[in-house]
């Protein structure tokens, strides 16, 4: 008996507006000063009226379009009623039956080596308001909970995926791809520590008692997962737990209602949360305080035009323009926009995308990580690296020498008394270390003749058909003519040896 894991994710993203969704209070993250960003509207005081933030709606539309969603020509907001101290009005303004967007998708790579992709459906994306923040007494003395309403009314985009994910690792992939897109679009900072991106996971199993048969286990929603790692761990744990539970009880979906679980990162386990048996009865109805929004095709086109290049489009362009592998395209684009732009400047500057990709994905990325530097802080500018790569491509220095120059530049630039990495410095280092490839074939020929004379055995081996004998000769020539290009030397040696035959 085996099983398939079925996962759908609900992601809440705070949009990067200046103000809240229905009032002019600042939506800045400000936990140090509770309750200084509120007004009668977000406090839900009588007589106040919400008015939709245009920017919030535009950012939401931009995201939905980038998620390949359809935009509804007509949308409205509804009241979702429940009582909780972080929800001052006693209802949340959300979207129920007419969300502003629906039916999109995100593509993820589920097997990097085979390049297998999965298209994860987006059921809907809708625009709603965030709740405030409850802070619980942790002294165990049962003291009051404290409520900060700074966050209440922050614009929130809820993105609901189809249950198309089949493994915890896929859920993580999906979140990473989604986060990259949101950051590229500039619609959210996606800071998980600050709660700008939050995730709930719906998980169950399709058990196959016999091939072709399917029994679904009861649905579980894991709430408030606050890091990608925790999403992955919580789902993995939940899969194991549900499988054990099913083998023990045989309970199927429908036998028990959907349950909610939390994630205890310390214990590494999900735990049952108190059943809110009434919670499902939100008694949605259209909010009479807000008027509907209609969107024309012209407006959709205008927002679509503002999207710019999405990460998948950028990866595709790198593959087409520079002939980069899928893997390299991902490594570069997934580092976020600054890094991709760094690569592009060098690729365009030196005219060789593959060479540029090799350098940025290996040397630059490694040094950035080791030295904990961002692209903006990285001391070797695209212009300088371009200069160095141009020298490699013009066969003026070898790749090995270029790496030496690169490291010298970096070391000097990050020294206590830093020496800026400039194009002039590149020339200086090459000169002082004698790294320039010796183009003077005359000098090389003389050296080769001398080496051939001194090595009758290697010459005899070569004559006997041992090509490997050339290797020993190259090393000796290189010692005499510093900075010679080994490939060129090899060619010249073979020429001279052939002349002896």
């Amino acid at each position: 008996m085996d099983y398939t894991v079925i996962i759908g994710l609900e992601v809440h993203v705070q949009l990067l507006t200046q103000t809240k969704i229905f009032c002019g209070c600042s939506s800045a993250f400000n936990p140090e000063q509770p309750n200084v960003q509120t007004c009668p509207t977000c406090l839900g005081l009588p007589g106040s009226l919400p008015v939709m933030n245009r920017r919030a709606f535009e950012l939401a539309m931009k995201t939905a379009l980038a998620l390949n969603c359809e935009i509804s020509p007509y949308t409205k907001w509804d009241r979702k009623q429940y009582y909780y101290p972080d929800l001052p009005k006693g209802y949340q303004i959300s979207q129920y039956d007419l969300p502003f967007s629906h039916d999109g998708f995100v593509e993820i790579v589920i097997d990097a080596e085979a390049g297998t992709k999965r298209r994860v459906g987006i059921i809907r994306a809708h625009l709603e308001e965030d709740a405030g923040k409850n802070m619980h007494d942790e002294s165990g003395r049962g003291l009051d909970s404290r409520v900060d309403l700074n966050r209440a009314g922050t614009p929130l985009l809820e993105i609901v995926s189809q249950p198309d994910l089949r493994a915890a690792s896929e859920a993580r992939q999906y979140l990473e791809e989604l986060r990259l897109l949101l950051v590229y679009l500039g619609v959210s900072d996606c800071n998980m520590q600050e709660g700008s991106l939050r995730c709930d996971a719906n998980v169950n199993l399709h058990v196959h008692p016999e091939p072709g048969q399917k029994v679904a286990t009861p649905l579980v929603e894991i709430k408030n997962l606050n890091s990608f790692r925790n999403v992955e761990l919580a789902i993995e744990h939940e899969v194991t737990r549900q499988w054990a539970e099913f083998q023990k009880t045989g309970l199927k979906i429908g036998d028990v209602p959907k349950t909610t679980r939390g994630w205890d990162a310390v214990r590494g386990a999900t735990f049952a949360q108190r059943g809110k048996e009434d919670a499902a009865d939100y008694r949605y109805f259209p909010d009479p305080d807000l008027v509907p929004v209609t969107v024309t095709q012209d407006e959709i086109d205008a927002v679509r035009a503002s999207i710019g290049e999405t990460p998948p489009a950028r990866r595709n362009r790198y593959a087409v323009t520079w002939g980069l592998s899928d893997y390299d395209c991902r490594v570069i684009v997934d580092q976020e926009r600054d890094f991709a732009e760094y690569f592009e400047a060098i690729a365009t500057g030196c005219g060789d995308g593959k060479q540029a990709a090799n350098w940025v994905t290996q040397d630059v990325l490694r040094e950035m990580k080791d030295r904990k530097l961002s692209v903006a802080e990285f001391p070797i500018s695209p212009a300088v690296l371009t200069d160095l790569l141009q020298r490699v491509l013009a066969k003026k220095v070898t790749i090995k020498s270029a790496r030496e120059v690169f490291m010298d530049l970096l070391t000097a630039a990050t020294d206590e008394t830093p020496v800026p990495a400039t194009v002039e410095r590149v020339a200086e280092i090459i000169q002082s270390k004698g790294l320039e490839i010796v183009q003077d074939t005359g000098a090389i020929s003389v050296a080769i003749s001398a080496v051939i004379e001194k090595n009758p055995k290697a010459v005899a081996d070569f004559k006997a058909g041992k090509q490997a004998a050339v290797g020993a000769l190259i090393g000796q020539v290189m010692k005499q003519v510093k900075g010679a290009d080994p490939a060129g030397v090899r060619e010249l040696i073979i020429q001279q040896l052939n002349a002896l035959l």
């Binding site: 309750n35 200084v36 960003q37 005081l45 939709m52 709740a131 404290r146």
Partner: protein
Amino acid sequence: MADSLDRQPLSRETVVKVARLARLKLTPAEIDDYVGKLGQVLGYVEMLDEVDVTDIEPMVHAIELRNVFRADEVLPSLSRTDALKNAPKTDGVCFLVPQILDGGGSSA
């Protein structure tokens, strides 16, 4: 009309459920009272069922206005003192509520 009133549009269970959802504690006598009174209101509204609405677009709002937006510009907020002024209990910084047992935040 008379029919719909006789049908008792509101059950006792519904009244109990609605009261619970609204966090209202009702005595059995009050429940009986609401079954009758709320039922009458519902029964009256059910008159609308007589209207044939086939092929009529559902209306979600009573006014014809659309697309009312405001600019994303910060306006002054209330001072913390004012924000907390009407709260039954505060510590001068936050609203205070009886301890929340199940932890976490709401489902927003």
